[in-house]
């Protein structure tokens, strides 16, 4: 039994959240005690447009199994248009990742406002379930980075 437990797959998930909407949405999920998996770790960025595709590739390189990016709803960006840039960049990046064999389900963009704690928690649930079903990311991980 104990062996089985040790081998239970726990995905590593990196979430990029913009400071104004999604990070606040995650805070609201927290203060409303809406739980989601501890496998999700959040990195705060000022805006979704601060997320360089490089960050996402790096996460996969270092062994992340899924990366999700959350921003303000289109039209509601604190910086007026940042999430539109992010949306375009991610569309390109995700189709490239798909091309090189990283399943589309491993990457996701979701718009979460500061008032949507429930949506944040729900999204994270879904994403963790998806990644768990996809299993370990082997395509992009650089084994030299493993310690």
């Amino acid at each position: 039994m104990s062996i089985e437990k040790n081998e239970e797959f726990r995905p590593k998930i990196v979430a990029f959240c913009c400071n104004w909407c999604s990070y606040a949405g995650a805070d609201l999920a927290g203060s409303s005690r809406m739980s989601y998996s501890a496998d999700v770790k959040i990195i705060r960025v000022p805006c979704s447009c601060r997320v360089n595709p490089m960050f996402i590739l790096r996460a996969f390189e270092r062994g992340a199994d899924g990366v999700i990016m959350c921003g303000c709803h289109p039209g509601d960006c604190h910086y007026t248009s940042g999430n539109y840039y992010a949306r375009r960049r991610m569309t390109l990046l995700f189709s490239m990742l798909d091309y090189i064999g990283v399943e589309n389900g491993r990457t996701r963009v979701e718009w979460v406002s500061a008032a949507e704690g429930a949506k944040f928690s729900q999204t994270m649930h879904e994403f963790v379930d998806k990644i768990t079903s996809l299993g370990k990311n082997v395509r992009l991980e650089d084994l030299r980075c493993r310690n």
């Binding site: 590593k12 990196v14 104004w20 909407c21 990070y23 606040a24 995650a26 805070d27 999920a29 927290g30 203060s31 005690r33 809406m34 739980s35 989601y36 501890a38 770790k41 959040i42 990195i43 705060r44 960025v45 000022p46 805006c47 447009c49 601060r50 997320v51 360089n52 595709p53 490089m54 960050f55 790096r58 996460a59 270092r62 062994g63 992340a64 303000c72 039209g75 509601d76 960006c77 604190h78 910086y79 007026t80 248009s81 940042g82 840039y85 960049r89 406002s113 500061a114 008032a115 949507e116 928690s121 310690n147």
Partner: protein
């Protein structure tokens, strides 16, 4: 190499109950650069800050990681604490182990493991932090209030009383808003216009208040302390300076068939009109869609009868550009449309009305001159039925999920007034719950029941069926008696849910103020900053933030005014030092960053650079710190990687990613 101190907060048991804080402290000491780690019950307390102060001094710390609540809560607290101890405040990073960890996880092992990882990421980031210095920006000492209802009026008066000039932008031809449409107000039964019109007059006469009626906000740019706003003054077709407000034009206007917005379509108005008699300013507007002169070219009667020569058919929309330091949103509400509630027969019978329509009917200046009568045949009703929660508290997409808050009280008011004025009329109220929190509110409702004999029935109405004899058959349920009720009524009044003014979405987008799924503007903190938007310099007043009654609206309006005054009273604001910077050795002057910058903060200069001993002049991007808001769009766009964002640099975020994936 940094010398980092890690401080782990218990937050009472909020964190310590699910995260093994001692373990986090122990693990922190293994991280590169960490020379000190400790835990304490309440880091944000005076004593906790003292611990931080002492550690900085004794261990010569150059960076801090505080593992505590969200940075949105206490980042400023800990930055100030660091500054007091002589450390640059931007050398502090917060690991959010409360909202993002202890509050959402139950398993101690799991939560501790996550807390350690979050701490690691923060340590990795601090290792690459550099001291930053905020710049300064000036404050334009003028405020803009969007919306001229009671919320906007009160905010404008309070700001102007403090000595700062205020502009009000109101979409309709007159200020006054919804409150001017009401007949009486609960729980004291004051006449609404008797208490509102003096305030409208005061605003109009105030030397520091300027009102733009029949105007809309066209665009907003800039940031806190320095907004630039374009206001569209729609063509009124009447010269504001010449018009004396005599009203002859309205009398003589031959086009009188337009439904009156003020009377909720229950009466008609002329094409040239003021919405109501006490309108401020008392200058009419020509509705160009209804005016015969504009439709056919013939007529022009108003121009002929106007002694002052104020009619100007050639007027065009005018755009005014103004600068403001603070903006208050007071856009108010409207009733929801009832087309999805066909079971209440609102569209089928004239005698099924909304509460706001009843306000107009009860009002002496309303469509029936204040007499309660059926709109179909003009007869006084003998049986009135009120239906509560029409579209409020709905889980489906037909209505709104929230409680509209004011309906229980105004229904009690209507019921009481009708029973008082027409004792022969029976009044029945179908309710789900009667919600009367507020000073003298429950007493008011009890008076309606006990002294005025209003019949309250617990149970919602299923259907209203118009009968051939003109009556309305109301099919309801009495849940306490466990009976189904069929009641013939003469009039049915629906307490329709209130919703934010539909225009608010457009305005919120212009202001980059966040808005929730119900179109209510979001406050910066639900409890502690209820009148501020998360966007600096934007304040919220009235129902645009959430349902509320008049006294609450007025107190919130005052609070928003105080917050705006607090901002206007400052001469200078410290700007966010987390701005973009270009590396002049890497920049190739391609202009892509300037294309994506929403603030126009990037310009290009020819600069002499020393590239590994080679001196040459290059075209290089330069960021204006005062304009840059630190979104980081340019950093990702830059093809050569020359742009980086201070405080959120590429290396820092990558270090966080690495720490999390380790």
């Amino acid at each position: 190499m940094q010398r980092i101190g890690v401080f782990v907060c218990h937050c009472g048991t909020n964190i310590a109950a699910t995260v093994d804080v001692k373990k986090v402290v122990e693990m922190a000491l293994h991280e590169p650069g960490v020379v000190h780690a400790e835990d304490y019950a309440y880091m944000c307390s005076e004593a906790g800050q003292e611990l931080i102060h002492k550690a900085i001094k004794e261990k010569h710390l150059t960076g801090l990681v505080v593992c505590s609540c969200s940075p949105r809560m206490h980042e400023t607290t800990f930055r100030n604490a660091a500054e007091k101890a002589g450390l640059n405040p931007y050398m502090v990073e917060i690991a959010n182990i409360r909202e993002h960890c202890s509050w959402i996880h139950k398993d101690i092992e799991e939560a501790t493991e996550k807390a350690v990882i979050l701490m690691r990421a923060a340590v990795a980031k601090v290792n690459l932090d550099a001291p930053l210095k905020p710049g300064e920006s000036r404050v334009t000492k003028r405020a803009l209030v969007i919306g001229g209802g009671i919320a906007g009026i009160q905010t404008a008066l309070d700001i102007a009383e403090a000595g700062y000039p205020v502009d009000i932008v109101e979409k309709t031809p007159s200020i006054g808003g919804r409150m001017s449409q009401l007949d009486k107000t609960f729980p004291t039964l004051d006449c609404s216009s008797c208490i509102l019109t003096p305030k409208m007059g005061e605003v109009n006469a105030h030397p520091l208040i300027n009102i733009y009626t029949y105007s809309e906000v066209e665009s907003v740019s800039g940031f806190v302390g320095d907004f630039t706003v374009e206001i569209r003054k729609k063509a009124r077709s009447v010269d504001m300076n010449k018009c004396t407000g005599c009203g002859v034009c309205q009398e003589k206007c031959p086009s009188k068939k337009t439904p009156s917005e003020f009377n909720r379509g229950l009466s008609t108005r002329s094409a040239i009109y003021t919405p109501f008699a006490q309108a401020v300013p008392n200058v009419p507007v020509i509705d160009r869609d209804a005016c015969i002169k504009f439709k056919t070219g013939k007529c022009g009667i108003c121009s002929k009868v106007c002694q002052a020569g104020a009619i100007d058919y050639d007027q065009i929309d005018e755009i005014v550009t103004e600068k403001y330091g603070a903006i208050v949103v007071a856009t108010g509400f409207d009733m929801i449309k009832l087309d999805k509630y066909d079971e209440y027969a609102y569209s089928q019978s004239k005698d099924v009305i909304t509460s706001l329509e009843l306000e107009r009917i009860m009002n002496a200046a309303g469509p029936t001159g204040g007499h309660l009568e059926r709109l179909s045949d003009g007869k006084p009703p003998k049986e009135m039925v009120f239906i509560q929660c029409v579209g409020s508290r709905c889980a489906d997409d037909r209505g709104k999920s929230y409680c509209s808050k004011v309906c229980c009280m105004y229904t009690a008011k209507h019921a009481m007034l009708i029973r008082d004025k027409y004792p022969d009329t029976n009044v029945t109220v179908f309710y789900i719950d009667v919600r009367t929190p507020g000073k003298n509110f429950d007493e008011f409702y009890r008076r309606a029941v006990e002294d005025y004999g209003v019949n309250y029935i617990k149970g919602q109405v299923g259907k209203v069926i118009p009968q051939p004899n003109g009556k309305l058959l109301v099919q309801g349920a009495d849940l306490l008696d466990n009976k189904q009720i069929l009641k013939e009524a003469d009039m049915v009044v629906l307490a329709a849910a209130i919703e934010p003014n539909p225009d608010v979405r457009k305005i919120a987008t212009m202001l980059t103020a966040s808005i929730d799924t119900n179109n209510f503007l979001t406050e910066a903190h639900a409890k502690l900053r209820p009148v501020e938007s998360p966007t600096a310099g934007i304040f919220l007043s009235g129902v645009c933030q959430g349902p509320k009654d008049i006294p609450e609206t007025v107190s919130q309006a005052g609070a928003a005014a105080v917050k705006a005054i607090g901002l206007l009273a400052k001469d200078k604001l410290l700007t966010n030092p987390c701005t973009a910077h270009s590396d002049e050795l890497l920049c190739n002057g391609c202009s892509q960053c300037a294309n994506v910058c929403p603030y126009g903060a990037i310009t290009y200069e020819d600069k002499e650079v020393n590239d590994h001993g080679v001196r040459e002049t290059r075209r290089i991007a330069v960021v204006n710190d005062a304009l840059c808001q630190g979104c980081g769009a340019c950093t990702v766009t830059c093809p050569s990687g020359a742009m980086d964002l201070q405080g959120f640099s590429n290396r820092q975020i990558l270090a966080e990613v690495d720490a999390i994936c380790r």
